[in-house]
């Protein structure tokens, strides 16, 4: 049962949302400054939903580029 492991680059890109939305909670869990009328913590999470999607898009590009290179080598 041998599978292709994800590349290090993609893993690092996937780690960014975890740091931003989870591990760093004590840095952004506050009300002020309110942005667009939202408490800062809620604004931060909404912003990171979009940014996470971007990170994963980048990770997708990394994986596709690697797959293409691998199949070119064979």
């Amino acid at each position: 049962m041998r599978v292709k492991k994800p590349s290090v680059g993609a893993l690092l890109l996937g780690l960014i949302p975890f740091v931003a939305m989870c591990l760093s909670v004590s840095l952004w869990d506050r009300i002020e400054p309110m942005i667009f009328g939202l408490p800062f913590n809620l604004f931060w999470l909404i912003a990171w939903i979009v940014l996470s999607s971007l990170c994963m898009w980048a990770a997708y590009r990394v994986e596709v580029a690697r797959d293409r290179k691998d199949s070119g080598v064979q």
Partner: protein, 477 residues
């Protein structure tokens, strides 16, 4: 017509529309076991996407997320983080699960464990834990329908009869149509759900405060502690947030139905692309939070936070609109509940009972047993919903504490060749035992940590340790 008649009639029409779509999808198809449970494996990408999206937004997101925004405050934000991060996790495991699934012809999560570790008792244990974890998730949906009907009837119909009716409807719906029907009903449910969330998320703060910004300003002024963690709770602080987000985001695709859905994708690449786009779908949750936070100031003092969304809708809009929201909410409970009950019943009959107790059973008998299990599981969940009260979020977290214990076996099974069956089995037993002990003795959270997460750490540790101590197994290439 009285207000309660108007709102109940509207709910009835919406649910009837859903059931009609379900029946139409089920007509003219022979119902053998495969057809009944996996739609005959002929699911195209669109239907598959609908099914997966249908599973994500359950009544938990609708009533539970707003309920915690109302009763707990800041801790409810964990829901937004965990759903997004669950898709990030999926990027790194689902394409690989799909790949091995295609190679060895796997159809269910328990097939994965059988194939990778070559032990039917481990696979059976995975089924038992999976089915047990589904029960609080089912209970959650039934409780949700009970809340909807009793509020929409202006408290004329009690919660217990409402829940009993919903179980009967659910079982009838599942019997009549199976999984293909569910996928199509989820189209209606998702459109209604997104429209409902956005309209009340913007409308309710506007009606009472003139906008979302002024609403938050008022809340920040009068109840500033409510908007951050631990909010209105004593022990749901940052440690709880981190451990719970990790537990639930790693566990999301360990739910048997979500794991199994990966096998039906067209390619591994589809699953990767899904992981890029799906996080954006979680933005809808923000609107649900807006409603819950508005309710803190407008309808204070409710006995149960899960009532807050519908109570404030009832206060702010005419009865027909309450009916529309209630109908959307009812479908949001029924569609996922059908999927859970189908998955759990099939797991019991096909992956647990037959391989371990009755290898000679025919497919026909397995299908019959699965149908019996649909009724049994419906009744168990109903009884629990009536006699054991918990918040909707609390119920979901209980289920997650169970299914996330599969994570080490799955992820190490994919990526660590040295992991052994005995390692995974002992680790999983230790994890599940820890969860049961901590939850039954009301020690969740323990020193601020989510009990399920602590159990997961122990599970990982024991899996690795025992794997090192036991001889490596021969894995099919």
């Amino acid at each position: 017509m009285s207000p309660s008649a108007v709102s109940l009639a509207t709910i009835f029409v919406i649910v009837a529309m859903g059931v009609a779509i379900g029946f139409l999808a089920g007509v003219h198809r022979k119902m053998d076991l495969e057809q009944w449970t996996v739609g005959g494996r002929g699911f195209g990408a669109v239907l598959m996407f609908l099914l997966m999206a249908g599973e994500v937004y359950t009544t938990f997101a609708f009533l539970g997320a707003s309920g915690w925004a109302y009763s707990r405050g800041g801790p409810t934000l964990y829901i937004m983080a965990y759903l997004t991060l669950a898709y990030v996790v999926s990027f790194f495991i689902l394409p690989q699960i799909w790949e091995v699934g295609r190679k060895y012809g796997m159809q269910t999560q328990s097939d994965f464990f059988t194939m990778r570790y070559g032990n039917k008792y481990l696979a059976g244990f995975v089924c038992v834990v999976g089915i047990a974890s589904f029960i609080p998730y089912l209970q959650l949906q039934i409780t949700g329908v009970g809340i909807i009907v009793s509020i929409a009837s202006f408290d004329g119909i009690g919660r217990t009869p409402a829940m009993a009716i919903s179980v009967v409807l659910l079982v009838a719906f599942v019997f009549a149509s199976g999984v293909r029907a569910v996928a199509w009903v989820s189209v209606l449910k998702d459109v209604l759900m997104v429209l409902a969330a956005v309209s009340i998320g913007i409308g309710i703060p506007y009606i009472h405060f003139g906008g979302i910004g002024p609403m938050f300003a008022a809340l920040a002024h009068s109840r500033p502690a409510h908007l951050t963690m631990p909010g209105a709770t004593a022990n749901l602080g940052h440690t709880w947030y981190i451990s719970t987000v990790l537990l639930t985001s790693l566990g999301f695709y360990m739910w048997p139905h979500a794991f199994g859905a990966a096998f039906t994708a067209k390619s591994g690449d589809t699953l990767r692309r899904n992981a890029v786009v799906m996080p954006l779908y979680t933005i809808t949750l923000a609107f649900i939070f807006f409603v819950g936070f508005t309710a803190v100031l407008v309808v204070p003092g409710l006995p149960n936070g899960d009532l807050s969304l519908l109570t404030i809708v009832r206060k702010s809009f005419p009865p027909w609109f309450l009916g529309v929201i209630g109908g959307a909410g009812a479908l949001t409970a029924m569609v996922p509940a059908s999927i859970f009950i189908l998955t759990a019943a099939t797991l019991f009959a096909k992956n647990l009972y037959r391989p371990i107790f009755a290898p000679a059973m025919t497919d026909d008998q397995v299908a019959k047993l699965a149908r019996v299990m649909v009724v049994v599981l419906g009744l168990i969940s109903l009884v629990l919903a009536i006699y054991k009260s918990a918040t909707l979020v609390g119920l979901l977290l209980t289920g997650y504490a169970g299914v996330t214990q599969f994570f080490p076996g799955v992820v190490l099974g994919l990526y660590w060749r040295r992991v052994t069956m005995r390692g995974v089995f002992t680790g999983m037993i230790a994890g599940v035992a820890t969860v049961i002990f901590l939850m039954l003795s009301h020690r969740d959270p323990l020193f601020g940590w989510s009990a399920g997460f602590l159990a997961l750490c122990l599970n990982f540790l024991i899996t690795a340790l025992v794997s090192w101590l036991t001889p490596a197994i021969v894995v099919p290439e």
